[in-house]
C-alpha cells in the first residue's frame, strides 16, 4: 500500500495532471538518431514502471513511464552513457525501478545462488552416479539351503 501511495505521489509530483493513458512508446518520443533510439529502448526494457505492476517503462501506458522514457532520451542526447542514465534514474526512484538487480552486497547472493546450486547438485549427482557404478551386483549370495539345492541340481539330482 505504501508503495502504491509513494508511486502515486511521484506521479503527481513529476507528471502534473494525469494524462489519459495511451499506448507505450509514442511516435513523438522516438529519437531521430536510430542508434540513440535503440539504446533508449534497451535501457527502457531494464527499467520498471514505478506505479504499474511489473511492467517495463517501455511497455507501460502510465504517464510516469512516458516521463521516464523522455528523461532517458534526454540524458542520452545530452551524452550520458547507458550506466549513467540508469544510475540517474535509480538515484531518483530507488532500486525498485531496476529490473536487473545489482550484484552488490546482498544482491550477490541472488546472482550466485543459481551457479552455486548447480555446482552442489552436480557434485551430489556425480557422487550418486559413482556409488551406483561401484554398487555390488544385484544377485545376493546364496544361503546354505539354496547352495545345497544348487549342488543337487548340478549333480543331476
Amino acid at each position: 500500500m505504501t508503495r502504491l501511495l509513494r508511486g502515486l505521489l511521484l506521479v503527481l509530483a513529476l507528471a502534473g495532471p494525469l494524462s489519459v493513458p495511451a499506448f507505450a512508446v509514442q511516435p513523438d518520443e522516438v529519437l531521430e538518431d536510430a542508434g540513440l533510439e535503440a539504446r533508449a529502448r534497451e535501457i527502457s526494457r531494464k527499467l520498471r514502471c514505478p506505479v504499474c505492476q511489473g511492467e517495463t517503462i517501455d511497455d507501460s501506458n502510465a504517464a510516469i513511464s512516458r516521463d521516464l522514457r523522455l528523461y532517458v532520451r534526454e540524458r542520452l542526447v545530452a551524452g550520458d552513457t547507458d550506466p549513467e542514465v540508469i544510475d540517474n534514474v535509480v538515484d531518483r526512484f530507488g532500486e525498485f525501478v531496476l529490473f536487473e538487480p545489482r550484484a552488490t552486497g546482498s544482491g550477490l547472493i541472488l546472482w550466485l545462488a543459481g551457479p552455486l546450486m548447480a555446482l552442489i547438485a552436480a557434485l551430489v549427482a556425480w557422487r550418486f552416479l559413482r556409488s551406483r557404478d561401484r554398487a555390488p551386483t544385484e544377485t545376493p549370495a546364496l544361503d546354505a539351503a539354496e547352495k545345497k539345492r544348487l549342488d543337487e541340481i548340478m549333480r543331476g539330482g
Partner: protein, 654 residues
Amino acid sequence: MIAEYGHFALILAFAVAVYQMTVPMVGAAKGWQGWMDSARPAALAQLLLMAISFGALTVAFVTSDFSVSLVYENSHTSKPLIYKISGVWGNHEGSMLLWVLILALFGSAAALFGGNLPPSLRARVLGVQAAVSVAFYAFIIFTSNPFWRMGNPPFDGRDLNPLLQDPGLAFHPPFLYLGYVGLSMAFSFAVAALIEGRVDAAWARWVRPWTLAAWIFLTIGIALGSWWAYYELGWGGFWFWDPVENASFMPWLLAAALLHSAIVVEKREALKSWTILLAIMAFGFSLIGTFIVRSGVITSVHSFANDPERGVFILAILAVFIGGALTLYAFRASAMTAKGVFAPLSREGALVLNNVLLAVAAFVVFIGTIWPLVAEMFWGRVLSVGPPFFDQAFTPFMIVLAIVLPVGSLMPWKRATLARSLRPLREALVLAAAVMALVFAVSTGHSALAVIGAGLGSWLVFGAFSELWLRTGSAGAGRLLRLPRADWGKAVAHAGLGVTFVAVALIQAWQIEDVRVAEVDQPFQIGPYQMVLRSVDRNDGPNYLAQRAVVEVTRDGRDVATLYPEKRVYPVQGMPTTEAAIDYGFWRDLYVVLGDEQPDGGWALRTYVKPFANWIWGGAMLMALGGLISLTDRRYRVAAGARRAAPTTAVAAE
C-alpha cells in the same frame, strides 16, 4: 435458493472429505477391508457434491443473480454469455471453487481407475488426496466463500476486468488448475508410498500417467496464458517472468523432471527417494504458486485478489502438507534402497543430468521470484527482479539441456559410450549446423542469439527424428508407424521443445518494430510490407465503446491482409484496452496496434513483424501432444488394468 444449495453442497463435500481422510487411513493401518474400500464411494460423492456446488455458482453467474455478492462484484447483465461462465473462475472465490472441483475430479478418477492398485495403497492415496481437499474446503468456507448474499441486491453488477474478457483467458485458468491439482495425485502417491514404506517399479508406473497428465495440462495452460498475453496486452510480448507466470512455470519444470526420474524408477529401480522428493516438491510449488497468486504478496500484473489473511491461510496449508511430507520423507527415505547398477555414462546418468538441470533451473526461477520479498524482509531493500535477471540466470541451463538432450535420450541403459551415442546423430548434427549457417547468413551480422537458438532448436528437432529412425532398426520406414507410442510421444515432445527454442530465439532477434503517426491514406513501408491506414470508425460492442481502424497491408502490390486494430473503453470498469489486430502467418505474424488520435492529424500506430511467432505455441502444443501420445501407450493401459481407457484420457475428456 440455488446459491444456498451450492453452499450446502460445499459444506457436505467438506464433511465427506473429512471422512475420507480419516476412515480409509485407519482401515489401511489396521487392515480392515471395508474401511479401506469406503474411500472410493466417498471420493465419488465428493465429486458429485462439488459438481452441484460449482453448478450452483455457475447458474448464479449466468442468470446474473446480483443478490450473490460475488456475482455483483464480477459480472454484468450486458456481458456475453461465455464471459458470464468464465467469470465464475475469473475471481478469487470462484477460482478456488474450481480448484477443489478439480481436486475432487482427480480423486474420483483415482477411485474409478485405481482398480488394480493394492487396496491399502489406494486407500492411502485417496486419504491423502482428501486431506488436501479438506484444507482447501476449509480455506474456501472460512475465508473465501463465494456464496455470500447481499442484503440489498443492486440493479446491475460491476463487470469482469475487461482484460479477462477473452477466449484465451477463459480457458487458461482451468487448464492451469488441472495441472496444479493433477500434481496433487503425484503428491498423494508419494506420501502414500512413504507411509507404506515401499516404492517399486509398479509404483512408478502408476504415478507416471498422472504426472504426465498434469504436465500436459500445465503445458497447455501456460501456452494459453502466454498466447493471451501476446495478443491482448498490446505489445506482443509472450513471456514476462512475472511472478504469476513463474508460479506456473516452476511446477512445470519440476513435473518435467519428475516424469523423467519416474522412468528410472520404473525401468531400473533407482532414484526412488529422489523421485518421491520431486513429487512432493512439484505439488509444493503448485501450492507456492497458489500462494503467490492468491495472496498478492509479490506484486504482479495478474493478482486481482490481494488479501493477506488468505495468504496466511494458504501458507499454513503449504507448511502443514509440505512440512509434513518432508518430515515423513526424512524418516522413511532411507528405507528406499536403489537396486540398479549403472555407469555414470548411461541413460540413467543422462536422466540424472536432466533432473539436475531442470531442478536447478526451477530453483533459479524460485529464488528470482521470491528475492524481492527476501531482500525487503532482511535488508530493507525494495527492489525488483525482472526479465534481464532471468534471461541471464535461467537460459544457460536450457542451453546445456538442449545440447545434451538428443545424445542422452539415445544412450542405452546401464552403460554407454559417447562415440556410439553420437554416431546416429551425425545427420542431425550436420542439419543443425546447416540451419545455423543459414540463419547466420540471413541475419545481418548482429545476432548470436538467433544463430545459437536456431541451431540448438533444430538440433533437438533433427535429433528426435534421428532417434525415431534409429528405433526402426534395419526395418526402415515401414516400421515407423508400428513403433511403441511412447517412442513417438518422446520424439514429438522433444521436437516440440526444439520448435519453441527456434521460435523464441528468432522472434527476439528478427522482430521488426515501428512506431509512427499514420496519416489516413498515406502508405508507409515496414520491412517488405506496404501499410496504409484507410479509416478509423466507431465500432461499439455489447459492453464496451470502441474505435476501429482499417489498415490495409500489401506486399509488392499483392494484398496480404486487411487488419482492424481497436481501442476499447469498458465504461463499467472505466478501463481502456487495446485490441491488437494480428495477421497470423506460418512464417511471421503482422501485429498492428492503434494508438491515440494526434492533435495535428493522423493516428499513432504501432506495427510489428514477428517472425515465427506461432512456433512458440506450436512447439508447446507439440510438447503437450507428445505427452498425450505417450499417455495412450499400451504400457499404461495395461498398468491401469482397465481395457476401456487409460485413466488420464478419461480425465482429459471432462
